[in-house]
Symmetry: C3
């Protein structure tokens, strides 16, 4: 990214225009998102908000269907309805029986209380959202046109047969962008230093991310990421002297664990990275040898779902069992142990700040803010269907060359 | 109603203009409404929202008075005040003692803390709402001008001396119109089929209400109703074959009760009907031989009171006792048993749908929607003080001719 | 105050223009306010809303600092931060370590994660609010410019060494102005007559405040007050005959305590008074011989803090102990005993009334409303930084002459 970027980034006010990112209050629409777990979808429809839309999700004949959770007739929730005809994936609205064929792209095939000759048949369509299932996760396409291949949006490593996948999600208050921007983590050394999982780690005085811009890279195994250019734990300084204030951070004898020994995951991944439509990938977190992904999925302007996925590649049944146990005993509690709550507070504060001061622009940034800056720039250059197609192709070529 | 009505009704989008019905977000003002039960009004004023106004209701010298629950001085609630002068129905505001004569149409007759010569006396008036009591129910006139006779708005059968009346009410979320429109019940066969009181009733495949418009009728004993033209249970079809889907509804051996044997109530009423300002009358529900009325009374744009009244005409003291017991053991629980909650969900969904998509117009209707269509048309033609007086007279003549 | 005031005040509609008072929805900014108790401020920052701003308050090296509770970087709450350098009153934001020197007017002296050479150092300033501590209360200056002397805004008697001070505060719903306007109390004889502390007091038929305007007076010992012109309990009439209604108030044998024997407090204060920026002073309440102050401190447009302070001047250690015991056993419960809740209801009603009818103007006033009228006029003539400086000087001279 160009020279003037570096300049505007140095503690000066950065003026945002009305960009694709500014408009993405409820997320980028033309993407696949993880919607929920496979085991969360059954014959009784569930209701889930995503990208500003209420969705009804249901399983019929083994297949998962997602549709807008509003009958076009009177707005009743289809998630109260059910399949009235055994063996036919056609959901009937609970209110008056308008029935939509989920296999035929939501075509209205009956209006039960109006009889077989109802004139609405064939004239109305329910908005459907394409879905795919893989490794216990249901994916949904939130765009209007034909969906992109799932492999373009879902990390490909997550779709592999030999991957052991764990997930969980929860609802968080605040706008999704404040979490997505901050995901890569120039804040980690401050905000998360007393997270339970980091109590015994060394603290560093200066972020290694300062002025080191991230780089777009196409990883053929997992997709296009904005990769941290910093070696894990390498470029950071130790204790630093701040004139007139003293040295920082304070040295604690019990903080002796370094963080430079992370192994390469999946053969080569050592750095964290972010990507569209708003997710973060961290290697060796919170368990060594695995990959951790988290999505920030807008529900509405003030709420998002925090969707966490862990991937591992155990080599044999015993290591598979061991990984499962370790995940439940260590990884899940460690994610919970202050870490996520600390991030959640910051997202809420950012959202409130924007509400009080109007749109949070111009935003005051400083040198380690390469993460939010680069993430926003990536979104504006590459968001499918939002950025200009020319710029998008340039960015993709750049990523391919760097990959 | 005319030919083009039939056409716009057949699955096409029906465009609403800014009609009296559209404007009645907080109800039709120039009508008598049931406000509460007589036993709910005592010497301590109660506060009740109705048609967008907060009312204070109090009993003094045996008579019920309703007034706006805001002192014109500083907005304090008059429902915190009391009658300061024994034997005089004049309520004093708790804040500074402005005193309003409830018998003299709310004239300010004293400002206690200002002494007998206060200049505000005689210059200020508190807004009063005419009330009447009958059979244990308090009625209130929400209009600005002289009230219509109570018999024009209250079902006359409810005012008769020999009527045994039970009532109850509760607060519901959503706009009153979504309940009023759907009251007559083309939805009942879908929505209410698993209500406790209907578990053993036969199910039908097609609504008898399809394309059969309701008819305005003046019933000299009870008022002007929009009457269902369908014989109870007669015009409906049984199991129907939907091409490519299967037959519907499923036959259940335990559903053997028909619904064609209802007796005429009050000598002649067999069908359900709706009327202004927004109520539904159902014969033989939930107890045979009685009439059931329900009002949807707007509190504000997003809440209404659901006011249910049952009327019976027991022939002797023993059947009177029997009716009372039966009401409490059967009718009340049956109303509660899913039935009302099912309706409440639909009203809330409709209100949310309108909030998301703006004013819910044009609305997509289908053939069995004769009920909402006819109800809206009745309101637009006949709403007192809102519809054109010419059209109102035409509609009344029509109702008289049909009665 | 002039003749036309008297006229507009006699039950006529009083038209307000867009005055300083109208604009003071979240309070008058250029004043000292009591913020909280000294013992409520420690090394862990507290968060408090005042005058529409969120403040972080913290104690460092024994001194109290107040700042806007928003980091200028990303809006994170500074109340989550702490002093990172022992012995240096510089708070570091929890999110990225931006550090602000509280002794140097909030100058940014470090951005920890950016290292000692961070370009933001010296370019950014955190908004600070001057504070002072006195007698266990923390005072804060909410203005933008140089603060006025604390003695101009804080009652001077409260700052004296020999004063025994008790305080408490709570959050109340409603706009602060409705409480401030009504503070002096033409409503007391109606609203508070059944407050626990007044059950045995005589009731009077006419407010002594009718038409008797309050007077601006400079009390050299305590500041500029709008003083009630009425001798406590003297000008009021007893039982009064209201034609056609009866006599009022009703005489109760157990109401025998008069209120004419109040002693002069602090050598000369016998009447109640209000002053800017919105507080009330009452002598001999709820304990004889003491002064009671209450502030109505806007948090936002719909909430304020009700800050109550009692001052006493015990002559020896024994009377000091006795006063403390008496305060906790009598004064606090008496304030609570309906009295405050009655006021709170009225404030809420006034705020709702304004919300329903738009800005509450023109407001209908009557003769005893000299209090709100005079209070509003005082604000418009004297509010520092809001009223015209000429009028302000005239008013101050008037107060000095009357003092």
């Amino acid at each position: 990214m160009a020279q003037d970027t570096q300049q505007t980034n140095r503690g000066a006010w950065h003026e945002r225009r009305e960009t694709p990112y500014d408009r993405a209050v409820t997320g980028f629409k033309n993407y696949w998102y993880p919607l929920c777990g496979s085991r969360e979808v059954g014959k009784r429809p569930a209701r889930l908000w995503i990208c500003g839309e209420p969705l009804a999700v249901v399983r019929s004949q083994g297949k998962v269907y997602a549709m807008i959770d509003e009958c076009p007739h009177r707005g009743a929730r289809l998630s109260l309805g059910k399949m009235e005809f055994p063996g036919v994936p056609a959901i009937a609205c609970r209110f008056h029986g308008w029935t939509f064929d989920l296999e035929a792209n939501g075509a209205c095939v009956a209006a039960l209380t109006d009889g077989p000759d109802s004139p609405v048949v064939g004239k109305i369509r329910l908005r459907m959202f394409p879905t795919q299932e893989s490794k216990g996760i249901v994916w949904v396409w939130m765009g209007r046109g034909a969906p992109a291949p799932l492999e373009e949006d879902a990390p490909r490593l997550l779709l592999r047969d030999d991957t052991l996948v764990h997930y969980r999600w929860k609802v968080v208050k605040g706008n999704w962008r404040y979490h997505a921007e901050g995901g890569l983590g120039n804040h980690a050394m401050m905000l998360h230093r007393d997270a339970v999982g980091r109590l015994f780690h060394k603290q560093f005085g200066i972020s290694g991310m300062r002025q080191v811009h991230n780089q777009l890279k196409l990883d053929p195994d997992d997709g296009v990421y904005l990769m941290s250019n910093q070696q894990s734990g390498a470029a950071r300084a130790g204790v630093v002297e701040f004139e007139g204030l003293g040295s920082w951070p304070p040295q604690r004898p019990w903080r002796f664990l370094g963080r430079g020994f992370h192994k390469k995951v999946a053969g080569k991944i050592r750095q964290s990275g972010t990507r569209l439509p708003g997710l973060l990938r961290i290697p060796n977190f919170p368990m060594h040898g695995g990959l951790y992904y988290e999505w920030y999925i807008a529900m509405d302007a003030g709420h998002y779902r925090y969707f966490q996925v862990s991937a591992h590649w155990p080599k044999n049944p015993l290591s598979r069992l061991f990984t499962k146990v370790w995940y439940h005993l260590w990884a899940r509690p460690m994610q919970k142990g202050r870490f996520n709550d600390q991030d959640k507070s910051m997202v809420l504060h950012g959202t409130e700040f924007e509400a009080r001061h109007g749109a949070n622009k111009p935003t005051l940034l400083f040198r380690p803010d390469v993460d939010p800056y680069d993430f926003i720039e990536m979104c504006n250059r590459m968001a499918r269907g939002e950025a200009s197609e020319e710029e998008r192709q340039v960015a993709l070529a750049e990523a391919q060359a760097a990959g």
